[in-house]
Structure formats: C-alpha cells, structure tokens
Symmetry: C2
Subunit: 214 residues, 2 copies
DNA sequence: TGTACATCAGTGAACGCGCGTTCACTGATGTAC
DNA sequence: TGTACATCAGTGAACGCGCGTTCACTGATGTAC
C-alpha cells in the first residue's frame, strides 16, 4: 500500500459514481463531462482513468447504483393495511411534484431512459440486472399473497416512469400536475380495477380529486 | 424571387426537419450534428442558418412534427367494434416488437422524452401544444360516448411511452417481449378493468398469453 | 537502524477531434429603367 | 430589347470551444536488504 489509507481508493471511486449519477440525471449522460465531475470532487481528469477504463464503464456503474436507489425507495413504501394497493401507494410518492421537480435526485431510469436504450450492451445488461433485482425485491416486499399485484410489475414501472417523464416534458406546471394525477389514478385502476369509471367514489384516503381531462 | 422555384425553400426546410427528426430519434438530439443532417441532404452546414436561427429552433420543429406523426398514428387505429377498448387496440400496435426495434421511425416522445424535459421552455411549449392537439384528436376519434376512456388519456400515453422505453432499456429481447406483453395487459386493465386478476379469461381476440412475471 | 527501491492514486499538459455558429462569397434569376 | 443592379438559397472555410483519452511525472508510504 502507499500514500493513502486502505479503502481510500474505493471511497474515491464511490464518490465519482455518486457525483456522476447526479450529473447524469441532471444534464444527461452525454452532456456530462468527466472533467467537470472530477473537478466537483476536487480532483483532476487524469485520475479518472485510475478508476474506470472509459466513460461508458462509469455509466454502467451509475445505472446500477441508480436502480439500487430505486429499489431502496420501493422498499421504503409500506404495504398499506387499509385496502389500498401497494402500487397505489408507490404511485402516490413517485408520481409527485417534488419528484418531478428534482430530476437530479429522482429516478435514474426516468432521467436516462432513452440514453440507456441507445447505449451499448453492457449498459443495458446492467439495467436489466437491476430491474431483475428490483422485481425480486418487490416480490419479497409484497409477500406471497400479492402475486396478482406482482403480475402488474412491468406495467406499474412503465406507467410510473412514463408518467414522470411526460410531466417533465410539458411547460405548464398545471398540465404537469394533471398528468401526474391522471397517472396516479391509472395506477389505482391498474391493480384495483373495481375503483373506476366516472369520478373516484370518495376522497377517503387523501381527498384527491378525480382526473380532469382539460 | 431568385434562382430557385417558388416553394423550393419551404421544401428544403421540410426535408431538413424530416432528416433531423429521424436522426434525433435514432441518436438523440444532442449527439446529432447539424453538419451531418445537412450532408445527408447533399447540402452544407452554412445553408442551415438560412432556415433556422439555431439548433434548438430545429428541435422545436422536430418535436412538433414528431407529435403530429403520433397523432396520425392514433387516428389510424380504428375503434374496435368487438367490445375491446380502443386503448387496447392502440397498445397492441404501439407496444410491439417492430416499434421497439425501429427507434428511428418510432414515437418521438419515447425517443426524446428526457431530452425534451431538459430542453428550454420553447421546446416544452411545443411538446405541450402537440399533446393538446393529440388529446383533441383522440376525443374526436373516439366520439362522444367514450368520455370515460378519454379520462384515461394521460395514463394511456404514459403507460405506452414508459413501456416502449423500458423494453428498449434491457439487453435481452425476451425480457423486452415480456415487458411489452405485460404493458399491453396493463393497458387492457386500465380501461377495461373487469378483465383481470389471474390469467386472461380467454384467447378470444388474439390468443395472447397472460403476463408472465419471470 | 538505515538506505535504496517499488508502488500507485493523483496531476496537468497535450493529443486529435467534432461541434455550433459566423461570414464573405457565389451565381442564377427577377426587376428597374 | 438591352443592361445594370438586387435578391437570396446555398457554399465552405474559419472561429472558439469543450470533449474523451493518453502519458510522463509526482511524492508519500511500504518493502527488501
């Protein structure tokens, strides 16, 4: 060993991935420069290549970490005991204005979707592995009685991801709100199909209004 | 007038937007260079600025055109007369392998979502206007009896957009297929909530299998 | 205990490259007289 | 009818700039003897 304490290199590497993930989400992976990421950590460009072989290798790690953060989020949403579905509770928090406004700390898949789609195979393999870990974590979280809800796993992810992206693509915050609300309603009817058609029966849990269509 | 026939300039402009839209979808708007787009049309970079003030202005037009193409697609999907919902019929065609494979000619919103989200206001205004035109077109297409289905407009768009993006983010084509299938099932239960829980009742319309969860 | 050498995370200048944008110029056609 | 000038879509070189990656170097610490 030399010059630095044991664990130092691993710590630097982790900081680089963290900083890169934030910047990737905020600005996109393409527009993020390695030099800027390193500078933000008080380091210089050259050092980057003591940790990663290329920028793409960094993207692989960032995607993995991003998905793991999403898994942590999903685990943090308790299964409701009042008859609401877990999917509804997830959508409530995910399809929200704070999440919409904070892309830098929000869902990595929503921030990087098409960039991951165009990236080469290693990135997509990392993404797929992450999604499988996510599916396994949700299965464990929901327990054995919720296989029906788990069968909607992909649709739930797609609706949430699509909803937050869509809400960020429009200029007017009120339209964004309408989109988020309509998608939360959609998540409800996805797993709890009895509640639908016409206005939501009652503002029982949160007093939420029914979807307007503008 | 001079040198070129009337309508020539408008024709060139249209060709530039068309070529740019393809490249934006295929490679992303950021990674697409103006020089390459112009070269593909047998023109040179300098000429670009006789048509557009900046690359961003081109993005505004490309987004508008992309959404208009999506509207044309939605109009092309007939309202089924056999009890299936229109949303189900749309998802059938949108959440498909050919669409997944052909990002260059596919849905512009799915290809450019986060880039539009990060673009400045003019781009997002164009996107929002496009989505309003889309909503109006769907309302007209469905007719007055389908207000219930229209209330799921945003959720349907989000589920489709999220589903195709998600399917492109994974490396294994079989996983991608599972995702698309699960999202098609999701679209079905979104508007037609009686059909759900456990396997789909019957392979009546297409013999589609129920969602596997892998 | 003392000295020579090896290690290796980090430095910072340099590389070749492609980008968006600008600008003086071209040249076929239309217009003024 | 003939000539000088205006128009303007398109040219292509040049601008300044930032990027990913390379590489010879640094220097504090660990190891060999």
């Amino acid at each position: 060993m030399a010059r630095y304490k044991p664990g130092h290199k691993a710590g630097t590497r982790r900081k680089v991935v963290d900083a890169a993930l934030d910047s990737f989400r905020e600005a996109g992976a393409g527009p993020t420069s390695i030099a800027t990421v390193m500078q933000g950590l008080g380091l210089t460009v050259g050092g980057f290549y003591r940790h990663f072989g290329s920028k793409e290798e960094l993207l692989v790690e960032a995607v993995t970490k991003g998905v793991d953060q999403s898994i942590t989020f999903l685990r943090s949403v308790p299964v409701p005991q009042d008859g609401r579905s877990w999917s509804e509770a997830v959508a409530e928090r995910y399809l929200s204005s704070p999440h919409r406004a904070n892309i830098a700390r929000g869902c990595a898949l929503a921030a990087l979707g098409p960039e991951i789609a165009r990236a080469d195979e290693r990135v997509r393999v990392a993404c797929e592995f992450g999604l499988r870990r996510m599916q396994a974590a949700v299965r464990e979280h929901l327990g054995p009685r919720a296989e029906g809800e788990l069968s909607q796993f992909w649709a739930l992810i797609a609706l949430n991801l699509g909803g937050i992206v869509l809400s960020r693509m429009v200029a007017d915050p009120r339209t964004a709100e309408d989109i988020l609300e309509a998608c939360r309603d959609g998540a409800r009817s996805l797993v709890n199909p009895s509640v639908r058609q016409g206005p939501v029966p009652d503002g029982k849990h949160t007093g939420r209004r029914s979807a307007r269509s503008r």
